[in-house]
């Protein structure tokens, strides 16, 4: 029940166009989670460190807690909910995270997958070191990252048409 004047925002999220009137100070993460009811992206800190809120905006990784919704006006956004194919087939990254045990509590996972998605677009066949530095803006408290690295390698291999390693351990 804010007294601040609402402003219009138009965004395309996961291929669908949304128009809303929002407080100019509303953060993009709250817009996505509460206005659009897409709760896959999470909030883990207040300082742009953890990356749990990472989404893809106009092909780039953004921490949606660090932007206002109004700054996304006109943008095209992909969230974790838009990663699987319309027929439900999981993206290679989603499959890789499961196959390689790249997640535990699942809280960082949507942000981690969205970050990895852009990373693999920029660098389709990254080394372990490149993956580690590429996901350094996303924190995970459960996995120790080792199997996240393997999950991203799994996806890279699959997307490059190589045979993929069977399972973790």
């Amino acid at each position: 029940m804010s007294t601040i004047e609402q402003v219009p925002v138009t965004v395309t999220v996961n291929g669908k166009k949304y128009q809303r009137f929002v407080d100019p100070r509303m953060l993009l993460i709250h817009f996505i989670r509460e206005e659009l009811n897409l709760t896959g992206a999470h909030i883990g800190c207040d300082t742009s460190h953890c990356g749990a809120c990472t989404v893809e905006m106009n092909g780039m990784s953004v921490k949606s807690c660090t932007m206002f919704a109004v700054q996304a006006d006109g943008a095209s956004i992909t969230t974790i909910e838009g990663m699987a194919a319309p027929d439900g087939t999981l993206h290679a990254l989603q499959e890789g995270f499961r196959m390689m045990h790249g997640l535990q509590c699942g809280y960082c996972t949507p942000g981690m997958i969205m970050r990895a998605h852009v990373l693999l677009k920029e660098n389709p066949d990254p080394t372990e070191e490149e993956i580690r530095s590429g996901i350094a803006g996303n924190l995970c408290r459960c996995t120790g990252y080792q199997n996240i690295v393997k999950a991203i390698q799994y996806a890279a291999a699959k997307l490059n048409g190589r045979t993929v390693q069977e399972a973790a351990e």
Binding site: M1, N37, I43, C45, G106, Y107, C108, R141
Partner: protein, 806 residues
Amino acid sequence: MNDMTPTREQREAQLQGMGCKRKRVEDIRFTQGKGNYVDDIKLPGMLYGDFVRSSHAHARIKGIDASKALALPGVIAVLTAEELKGLNLAWMPTLAGDMQMVLADGKVLFQNQEVAFVVAEDRYTAADAIELVEVEYEELPVLVDPWKAMAPDAPVLREDIKDKTEGAHGRREHYNHIFKWQVGDRPGTDEAFARADVTIKETFYYHRTHPCPLETCAALASFDKVKGELTLWGTFQAPHVVRTVASLLSKIPESKIHVIAPDIGGGFGNKVGVYPGYVCAIVASIVTGRPVKWVEDRMENLSTTSFARDYHMTTELAATKDGRITAMRVHVLADHGAFDACADPSKWPAGFMNICTGSYDIPVAHLTVDGVYTNKAPGGVAYRCSFRVTEAVYAIERAIEVLAQKLGMDSVDLRMKNFIRREQFPYQSALGWEYDSGDYYMAMQKALDAVGYKELRAEQARKREAFKRGETRELMGIGVSFFTEIVGAGPSKNCDILGVAMFDSCEIRVHPTGSAIARMGTKTQGQGHETTYAQIIATEIGIPADDIMVEEGNTDTAPYGLGTYGSRSTPVAGAAIAMAARKIKAKAQMIAAYLLEVHEDDLEWDVDRFQVKGLPEKFKTMKDIAWVAYNAPPPGMEPGLEAVSYYDPPNMTYPFGAYICVMDIDVDTGVAKTRRFYALDDCGTRINPMIIEGQVHGGLTEAFAVAMGQEIDYDEAGNVKGASFMDFFLPTAVETPYWETDYTVTPSPHHPIGAKGVGESPHVGGVPCFSNAVNDAFAFLGSTHIQMPHDPWRIWKAAERLGLHQ
């Protein structure tokens, strides 16, 4: 049999039972953003709560003026201690037998303490309103240093109990004293020390830190005035305990309180306790008649809801000159902050600190723990460990190194010489525990062989010579730790929380068509219970794991249990699963005997079926039996195929492991690089090797964080330093070392499936391993102990003290 009949191996593989690397069921929803965490839940008419917090560490409250906040459109209510007093809820009991303010009552005792609770239509308005609440403070002297807590002129922190000489754990010696806890044989220990050839004494400070799960604590309370029912969603590692406490506090019958823990984004001990935010959300919902959500932000999380450690451990060992340890003496000064909100079993004010004799056959020992109040946040939770075991293992594993240094022995040789030997199990420790099983020597030897320990020491010797000659500015440290955990709390004879015995439970219902649901008293926070519990059931009763649904966290449907922490899920609930499954199997055997027209004793179990001994073609599968159990049971038998088990463990379990770390330290920058980390864990029977490996990776990473930089520190005025990710060290993928994992298997003899639990071992064993590596690097220069956390600044300072920068 035709060719289509599956072989025994195929049937076994189809079950995906114990021992296989079953992929996780949970991941299907988590990888698609379909998890359901507390903040994802939205109810019609939902309000948001937010706290006004104290800027001072110790101050009297002269007045609170909420009028400006209440005038802001969208603000519904502002609660203070005065409002809560009307409901007798201004204070709440802690798990440790103390009382804690829900909202500041008369004074504040730590920075960021909860002073008032603002309830508003949305979270932005709530955040605006807390800025408008005016609180007038009168500053009081601040007590930060626990060593000064019991000084005659120390400020009085807890005016509510300043004249009480008896606390929840016996006599209090000072108004800032909480308890003195003593275990062991004092005269015997004194005598052994007096006779010893060699003794060492060192004070190890295990600094204050925080479990810091990626999801902060949160609750959503919805009180239905018409029905008189409360539904509470929250980040609860122990939902049933929350229900019981909520009932005791609110006087609402427990049957009318529905506690639901949905998906939890990591816990690590943070989400065991009951926090003011939960209580205020409930009260606000009762007062406003609308659902109220409270979600803490990261700074609130790090600075208020629980801390871990903060133990000053003066540790002494006595030994013969050839390295036989003859006695141990430990004194702990425990900084509990403003309220004793330690999350330990109620009779254990210092948790299981008395496991501090570690993996060694030490004939006599004595432990004293003094708990004191300071102007810091309350807590004392078991951060990825079983109730102070991390502290205990740190004390003994550092002390072993210091003793080895004094004896001029390799610390591995000293460990080997003093290990509890395989034939000594079950082993009675000097401080009162009965270790169930172990083969320490074999595990240590396997670790040494795996890393090439002798060659590492030779390399280190060469590097030290090169350093002395000025050819390098890098020192090599080799860290070794050998730990014994004590998990699975616990036997009702010595473990309870607020009088509730620490059993755990499982209810299994096999449906007529042969699938099943299992409901549990525990609550996963990432451990993968939905996957592994089904594997246990699959092996026990022959239903494929994919056909078994595991449900946790709903207190209306789950049997009462004490929750998940202290690595208790596998040792206690895992046992309850096996026992419930065996009840089902016993009934199934009777039905199979009836159907096959043989005596029960003429049947044998084979993977997924009972078959007639010697006639494997005559069988009934569990699926066949399930249908009959409901629709055509034997005459006189009750229909149905379900069972409940409440398992009260006869003993704790004692997982163990051998860890070795190799580090290279630049003495000019203080940067320590972990070159190699090898972890061997023995958690008894292994249910899912993939998940075990994942747990070990995660525990080691948290150990790395704690040992190498993570801390919650205070300045002299009681300002909490570093309570955000700007300063609080959470390693990224770049800093985190690569983990090598290995194992041995020594089943627990008293557990139905022999499993011991693993989630916390790597943290418990990892911290001393890292710290030993840093200390080992400098040991040849005469340094006996460098305090954690070993961030580059502190390592640089240690090098400076040792004259390495001249």
